[in-house]
Structures are given as structure tokens and as C-alpha cells.
Symmetry: C2
Subunit: 348 residues, 2 copies
């Protein structure tokens, strides 16, 4: 019977997307500022008649713009429908051994979801009591490694030496560094791609380029790796990125001035919020991402989550072992963060 | 070594996308007319600041518009990034038995590519000498059935009785009817979804709604099937369709008047071209799609393909057994088809 063969999956619950415009939405790590004006103009100037034709399956225009930005060859660039698409393609393409892949126990909640979806064995490696990676955990036989840096949902950056140590000890494995949040102040391992042909660096336009709604992610890696990704991608869906999104992506990566101003604003607001939360008695981790991971001391995290929601302030709560006393708070505008701090102050 | 575990895939080659604007492009079944003006206005009126937020992962606005159009419940609708995405999700979700799935030997060239990609056993069933499906071929144990109607690349429609016969004999299997081309004059099996909970009807906006560049496809099926598809989809990539494309899709399905006028034009041009090709001595199949499948009698198909390309007219040639004496010719504007017929006449 067909019902017996339906794939059973571990469900993933994305952060809530409330329709109410009056909500202060600090629950999905969206950027509070608009995309660059080049994006606005690309949309305004787009000839809608172009949509009757298929997009370029190789997405060359956007891949070239990304290659130019990072000063690599276009053959070092793979583009996907969000970094989730890029990472899922990496799982399908590279995680086919019978050895388990490794990733931290506290991390982006999709890593184990993909492992289940694609029948990939995995072992999680516990972060230490300060939520830091223990590099020696990754010196064991494995079918691949995936590490986000900065980590989610903690925002903690591991130094480049830690990452190099892990790569140096895993030259027989694919090592993926998920740099979704790297632009907000962390150091990238992108320059190492020239040295290690087993390293994949994954990025997204969703956070630092204010384009969560456009679904653009990419990977930078050796030409051999990118070619393997393209082979699998073309066998799955030749045309995934639509023509208009390609134009949007090109404009978004070209405006470096706006990009850097935007990052500076988010970082400055993050540091202000960090200090205010400390003043309010929270335990807060130093973050290199566009969110803070914080533990209140006068109320449980779950309770605070619900209290804030009543005031139309949405933050993220994970009801999971080890992190169920923390909230992940995305960085909004100065005004939004002030309202958050005021709301928390009133609850004390 | 990581190289030993790279997934090996059967490569798929999409039709050429020449950059030259002067090309008469009849090789990828694109619609020669623009999308409806609602699409133009949706793009023009789009607030680019919306892109900083994630899209609705459930794509409810577009799913509701599709549900309204087909007079079904929103829970009967699944939306994907092109029908390729929808079909790939169907493979992942439902083709997990150890029995082979069945499809015709001459058909959409992606069916076996997905089977290879997802390690699904498959058996192809030869069409008869007139390229028609032999229904008794599908009365055997199987892990699922996928049939395009009208078929590609022949354009031939199987009567609804043939499809019902196949479904009636396969109540234990998932039966997918791929109706990518149905709008161009064929009869849909959509009304049968209410009766058969194992039937999935797949559609696309790429051809009949002139939106190949936007990547919108969908499936209509029982609520149980759609729920299973959503579970797998959310475990793969929660946000696949971008916010702007959702708006475009909603407008495209609402303008039924333009849609029907567009179809009538394409069908009328198809019939004119069909008769001209017959006059020129081609063997041509009656088509219910936006292309014709035709065999020249004065030159080999391969040679004609190359001769037309020299004149900047692109058609599709498949160098495959049984069909390597045919060309698949997409229906362009009247003017484009006249130029094609003139070019062929000069070659005779």
C-alpha cells in the first residue's frame, strides 16, 4: 500500500511569521533595514516579458558577481535558493559514506533534519559548558563535518585557528563551514578555500544583505567540489533561481558601501542591546551575529518569551535540552531594541 | 577519501538558452506571449522592503489562489519551484518501496534522472509504434507510476479513459499525472482527485501562463498526500518560493480572460504549423501541447536541426533511440512559425 512507503521525516518548525504589522519581530534574524536601492531599481526596471523565458540554469550573471566580490573564479561559486538549498545539496552530493557526519549538539536546527531526510548517519558533539566547540571532538573517523561559525543560536565565534585545526585533521572529509552570520563581525575562512580542496564555505543573502524574502545562498569551494554540486543540482532541478531574483542578487552584492553601513548599524545596536541586557541581569554571550543569546535571571526564558509575545514582541525560544533557559533575540532597529528593553524592565 | 563518496548522477542537459536576441527560439516550449499585465503590475507595485523578511513558508496566498481557481480546498494544493521541484518532492516522499516505478520509454527526460538521483528502481514501458501508451503495461506490481499527459516530447494526448483504467488498476500505488501541457487543449484528470486519494496531478505556470522565468509549479491531490509532501518539503527547505514570485503567481492565475486568449492564439498557430509541416511532407503527430513532434522526409532530423540553427532558428533534437528522426518544435508567434516554414521550404 502506498501509505506504507511515505517517507517519515523529523518535522522542522520555522519561526513564526505574524501577519500583524505592529509586531516587533525579533524571532527570525531578519535584517531591520531594507535591501540596497539597487534592488529596488532592479525590480522597477525589470522587463516582465523576460519571465516567459527560462532563467539561465547556470545563474552565471549572479555567480560572476559573487566571484568578483570575493575575488575567486566563477567555477568556485555555487548558488542556491537560500543557504538551506545549498546545504541540502551538499548533504546529497557529499554525505554518502557509511561513516557518521559530525556537528555540534547545539547548532542550526536543520543539520539533523537533513541527515534524517537523506538517511545520513550523524553524531553530535557536545559544546563545552561555555557553548564552545571542543576541537579534539572532531579528530575521529567521520563522513563529513559541518560547523556554523558564528554558531547559531549562540552567536559565538570560534577563532580561525580552531577551524584550521579541524580542517587540518580532516583532509579526507568534506568540511562545511556555514557562515550565514559571518558578516556581522566574525572572521571568514573563505581565503582557506584556495588551500583546502575539501573545504566548503556557505553564505546567505538573507541576513546581512536584507534579502530573506528573495532566497539566495551560495557556496565557495574548489572547482572540483562546485562541479560535483552542479551535477547533482542539475539532476534535481535545472532551473531553481528565477530571473528576477538573479537580477536582485547581482545588485545586492554590488553595493558594498550600503552593505557596510548596514552592518555597522546592526553591530552598534547589538552592542547597545548586549550591555542593556547585562545591566538587566541577563547572562549574555558575546555575539558576532545579528542576534543575542541571553538567559534572564528573574524569570524563566519560556515565561519571558510568552510575556513579550503578549506585548507584541516576538523573540525565539527553543524548548530543547541545554538551551531551554535562553532566548535568541534578533537585532532590530534602535527603536525596536529600546522597546524590548523597556518591556523587559517593566516585567522585572 | 571524500572523492569516493561523491554522488554520481546521470547528467541532464537543458535546452540551449542562446543570448542572441535575434534568435527564433523554438527549443524549450516557452510561451511566445508575455505574462498577463497583472504580473507586470505586481512587480511594479512590489515594496522591495518586504524582501528583508522571510516569505510565508506555507505559500498560503498563492495556494489559496490556485485552490480557488480549481475549486478545491487549500489543503489539496502543494506549490513548488517549478513542476520539477514538485515532481522531485513526489519522488522523495512517495517512491521509497523496493518495487520499480513505471513510466513510458519515450517521455519527459527527467523521470529517469530523478530515479537515479534518489536511488529509485524504475522500469520503462515502451510506447507502441504510434507512440501511444499501452495501458496493460501498467497492470503489474510497481512502486508508483508517472505519466505525462499530453506526453512529451510527442504532444500526444491519451484519453481520460486510458488514465482512469491505469488508476483503477493501481489503487495501491501513487499515480502521478504530469499535466505540464494540458492547458493547450487536452482533458485534465483533476476532477478525479476527489475520487482517488492516490492520484497526484502536477501542473506548471511555465508554459501556459508564460512564466518559465518565475519557477512556479504545483500539485493537486488528496489532503493526506499534500500533507506528506509538505512534511518532506519543510525538512528540505522551509522557504523555497520567494515573496515576489508568490505575488506574481497570484496575479497570473487570477487573469483567466488573458490566459484563455493566450491559449487560443498558441493553439491556432499550432494548427497552422501542423498543416504546413504536413504539406512539406513531414510526419507530424496531432498535438495537444505547445509544441509539435515532426519527422522530415527529405533530410535527417539531425541535419535539419543544424541547418535551422545556422539560420538562427533553434528547435530541439533528441539523439535518443526511437526518436532521433524527429524534431520537437515549440509554437512561437505566427511570424516566427512563418519564418520557420519559409526556412524549411528553402532547404527542400
Amino acid at each position: 500500500m502506498w501509505r506504507d512507503y511515505i517517507r517519515q521525516v523529523k518535522p522542522y518548525t520555522p519561526g513564526e511569521q505574524p501577519k500583524d504589522e505592529n509586531v516587533i519581530k525579533l524571532n527570525t534574524n531578519e535584517n531591520p533595514y531594507p535591501p540596497c536601492v539597487g534592488v529596488r531599481d532592479a525590480i522597477k526596471d525589470f522587463d516582465y516579458n523576460m519571465l516567459r523565458k527560462y532563467p539561465d540554469p547556470a545563474v552565471n550573471e549572479l555567480r560572476q558577481a559573487i566571484a568578483d566580490y570575493h575575488d575567486v573564479d566563477i567555477r568556485n561559486v555555487f548558488v542556491g535558493v537560500g543557504s538551506d538549498d545549498v546545504l541540502a545539496m551538499c548533504y546529497m552530493t557529499f554525505f554518502n559514506s557509511n561513516k557518521p557526519i559530525l556537528f555540534p549538539d547545539i547548532t542550526y536546527s536543520f543539520y539533523d533534519v537533513w541527515a534524517e531526510e537523506f538517511d545520513v548517519l550523524y553524531v553530535t558533539k557536545p559544546l563545552d559548558e561555555n557553548f564552545r566547540i571542543v576541537p579534539s571532538d572532531y579528530k575521529t573517523i567521520n563522513g563529513g563535518i559541518i560547523i556554523p561559525n558564528p554558531n547559531a543560536p549562540t552567536g559565538i565565534e570560534e577563532g580561525i585557528d580552531t577551524i584550521i585545526d579541524i580542517i587540518e585533521n580532516n583532509k579526507d572529509s568534506i568540511v562545511i563551514i556555514d557562515e550565514a552570520y559571518v558578516d556581522f563581525g566574525a572572521e571568514s575562512v573563505l581565503p582557506l578555500v584556495a588551500k583546502y580542496d575539501n573545504l566548503i564555505v556557505v553564505r546567505t543573502f538573507s541576513k546581512s544583505r536584507s534579502l530573506a524574502g528573495s532566497r539566495i545562498g551560495y557556496a565557495i569551494a574548489s572547482k572540483e567540489i562546485i562541479k560535483a554540486l552542479h551535477n547533482v543540482k542539475y539532476s534535481y532541478n535545472s532551473y531553481t533561481m528565477d530571473s528576477l531574483t538573479i537580477k536582485i542578487g547581482v545588485e545586492a552584492i554590488k553595493d558594498d558601501k550600503y552593505f557596510k553601513e548596514n552592518l555597522e548599524k546592526v553591530i552598534s545596536t547589538r552592542e547597545w542591546t548586549y550591555n542593556k541586557l547585562l545591566e538587566l541581569g541577563f547572562e549574555v554571550f558575546e555575539s558576532k551575529a545579528n542576534f543575542l543569546f541571553a538567559k534572564p535571571n528573574f524569570i524563566s526564558a519560556k515565561e519571558l518569551f510568552h510575556e513579550l509575545k503578549k506585548k507584541n514582541i516576538f523573540v525565539r525560544y527553543f524548548d530543547k535540552p541545554r538551551i531551554n533557559e535562553y532566548l535568541r533575540i534578533s537585532i532590530g532597529t534602535d527603536q525596536e531594541m529600546k522597546e524590548l528593553i523597556d518591556a523587559i524592565t517593566l516585567l522585572k
